[in-house]
């Protein structure tokens, strides 16, 4: 029974595909999985938007949307219908082809990244030997879409937003990759399925998730920072800083194309949370061994939604960074610390089992954190500010 509930989606798919002739079955199987992903993630997107609006409201002592449906639950549907029925405006001097392609590229690439995430036991769309690399390859392609959107709009705000976005995404992609490399080093595989399997073990009922090791925690923190920047979320939302750039690179998008950008952004957030879950939070494995009877997909999706909640919490808390602060933070703190964490991970690996490595690695990382935080993020003492105006 437990097994059946755990595998219910897999069984459902087999049952559905079973109706077709044997020749069509592989194609149909892929199609069913793709349709499932395309159905599930946009609905999660709708829930995430609702959660964000409600949660941010509560953090600012507001109620949030509460008019459409119970507790405003149908608000995303209303928003969707609104954006579908709105006029699609393309600026007269815009580069029509590139302008059209940009949201398409974004959504396609973002959805492709999801394909390699193990969403439960036996629930990966594509089993890949180098799944992690695939994910990052797709993630890197979103930069192109940002650039295309910003450049083709022929709008200064769009272009500035795109430049900011691309510069930021390139800068933070390095620490994002580097923090995952630590996990790859430990597991000895780029396959996300194997990474989850490696974490799906228990000692005294507690899981072997990588976040519960000193190097894993450090890598996870750096991953979270880089992921926030990669998805252009607050406090790294400079590319769409509405107080300066209207809406950044999608200023000139309206109607359904704007909705696609919105969707792409949130699905990107979901997928990067999914990857973080897979790498550090044990993927679909249960947090305690006695909870093993709960279906694996439940754990995966609840971990992802929990990460979304943290994203929202951070958005409700932190103000936007300045461009130079953003770059300094990436190159002077996040990247060096991630590289250092790689060394510590190697040390952890070669120190063998025992309590000694816990103490040594924790102390080294704490010291490094304090030191790098102190030196790299050292703020000059405030002087009288001088302003340079444009002549």
């Amino acid at each position: 029974m437990i097994e059946t509930i755990d595998q219910i989606f897999v069984l459902l798919k087999h049952w559905l595909v079973g109706f077709l002739p044997a020749g069509l079955q592989p194609v149909a199987s892929v199609l069913v999985s793709v349709v499932a992903i395309i159905a599930v993630f946009p609905s999660l997107f709708a829930i995430a938007v609702w959660m964000e609006r409600k949660g941010l409201g509560r953090m600012q002592n507001r109620i949030g949307p509460n008019r459409v449906g119970p507790f405003g639950l149908f608000q995303p549907i209303a928003d969707g219908i609104k954006s579908l029925t709105k006029e699609d405006i393309v600026p007269l001097r815009a580069d029509a082809v590139v302008h059209f392609m940009a949201p398409v590229v974004l959504v396609v690439v973002v959805f492709m990244g999801i394909a390699v995430l193990p969403m439960g036991r036996n629930m990966t769309l594509v089993h890949m030997d180098s799944g992690l690399l695939f994910f990052f390859a797709m993630g890197a392609s979103t930069e192109l879409s940002v650039f295309m959107a910003g450049w083709s709009s022929r709008n200064k705000y769009s272009l500035l937003g795109a430049m900011r976005g691309v510069a930021q995404m390139i800068s933070y992609e390095v620490p994002l990759l580097m923090s995952s490399v630590a996990v790859v080093m430990m597991t000895g595989s780029l396959s996300l399925g194997k990474i989850v399997e490696a974490q799906n073990q228990y000692t005294w009922g507690l899981p072997h998730w990588y976040i519960f090791t000193p190097w894993g925690l450090a890598a996870f923190l750096m991953y979270a920072i880089a992921a926030t920047a990669e998805t252009n979320r607050s406090p790294f939302d400079l590319p769409e800083g509405e107080s300066e750039l209207v809406a950044g690179y999608f200023t000139e998008y309206s109607g359904f194309k704007f909705a696609l950008f919105f969707l792409g952004e949130y699905v990107g957030m979901l997928s990067i949370s999914g990857l973080g879950t897979t790498l550090f939070l044990g993927g679909w494995s249960a947090p305690f061994s006695f909870l093993g009877w709960v279906p694996s997909w439940f754990w995966f999706f609840s971990k992802v939604m929990l990460s979304i909640c943290v994203f929202i919490w951070i958005r409700g808390t932190l103000p936007r960074l300045r461009q130079d602060q953003l770059m300094n933070f990436a190159w002077k703190f996040v990247l060096p610390f991630t590289l250092f964490d790689l060394l510590v991970a190697a040390l952890w690996r070669f120190m063998g089992d025992g309590w000694a490595r816990w103490v040594v690695c924790s102390v080294i990382l704490l010291l490094a954190y304090a030191l790098m935080g102190g030196v790299g993020m050292y703020r000059k003492h405030f002087r009288v500010r001088s302003y340079r105006y444009a002549e």
Binding site: I63, W313, L318, Y369, G373
Partner: protein, 214 residues
């Protein structure tokens, strides 16, 4: 250490998040169409024309002097002066506005028309639910839509209305006294002309005029 401030901030937002569920005084939102809070006394949005008595056309204080029309910064007032004269509240024959239009969509609620009016005829209203399906004609208010009774004025701005009434009563008393003085002088003159009956008739007619004012 790096990140301390972030943790503090996170704690603060978490406190707000939980607090908005627990304590009612944190959640200050008024759910407008269902819940309303009484407007404060100084609330103002658009002007209206005050009239005395029951009939708006007869009791309108406006004498079409057109000062407000000239002073209005966005020029949203349009007045057509009447040709004939009608008796006003004091019984004195006055011009009256044959047309008095205010374009609410242009008005910027500056209250200058109220400041300049020498007759206390135009005052600021508190009505704000003014949405109309017709955005041009619907927001162009004519005399009838603008006319509101003095009772209404008392209801929305009690203190101010009381002051205005006191001032008007004072003016009235003064003009009455003047009229009386003039009448007395006339009566004295008439008496000198040896016809005492006229003065008593005049004195009896006076209180009636004062009664019109509430």
């Amino acid at each position: 250490m790096l990140g301390e401030g972030i943790l503090k901030g996170l704690a603060e937002t978490a406190k707000n998040f939980v607090g908005s569920f627990v304590s009612a005084e944190r959640l200050t939102t008024v759910q407008y169409p269902e819940q309303r809070i009484a407007p404060i006394e100084a609330t103002r949005d658009f002007p209206f024309l005050v009239y005395d008595g029951a009939d708006w056309e007869a009791g309108m204080r406006c004498v079409a002097c057109q000062i407000c029309e000239k002073e209005c910064p966005p020029k949203c007032i349009y007045i057509v002066k009447s040709i004939d004269k009608k008796p006003d509240a004091l019984g004195k024959p006055q011009f009256y506005p044959a047309r008095f239009d205010i374009d609410i969509s242009v008005c910027m609620s500056c209250q200058i028309c109220v400041e300049v009016c020498p007759f206390e005829a135009i005052k600021m209203d508190t009505e704000f639910e003014l949405s109309r399906t017709d955005r041009f004609g619907g927001l162009l208010f004519d005399r009838e839509e603008l006319a509101k009774s003095n009772e209404h004025y008392h209801k929305i701005h009690p203190t101010e209305a009381a002051q205005v009434d006191a001032r008007l009563a004072g003016e009235k008393a003064k003009s009455d006294a003047k009229a009386k003085g003039a009448a007395l002088a006339a009566a004295a003159k008439a008496a000198a002309a040896a016809k005492p009956a006229v003065s008593t008739e005049n004195a009896a007619a006076k209180p009636e005029g004062a009664e019109i004012k509430p």
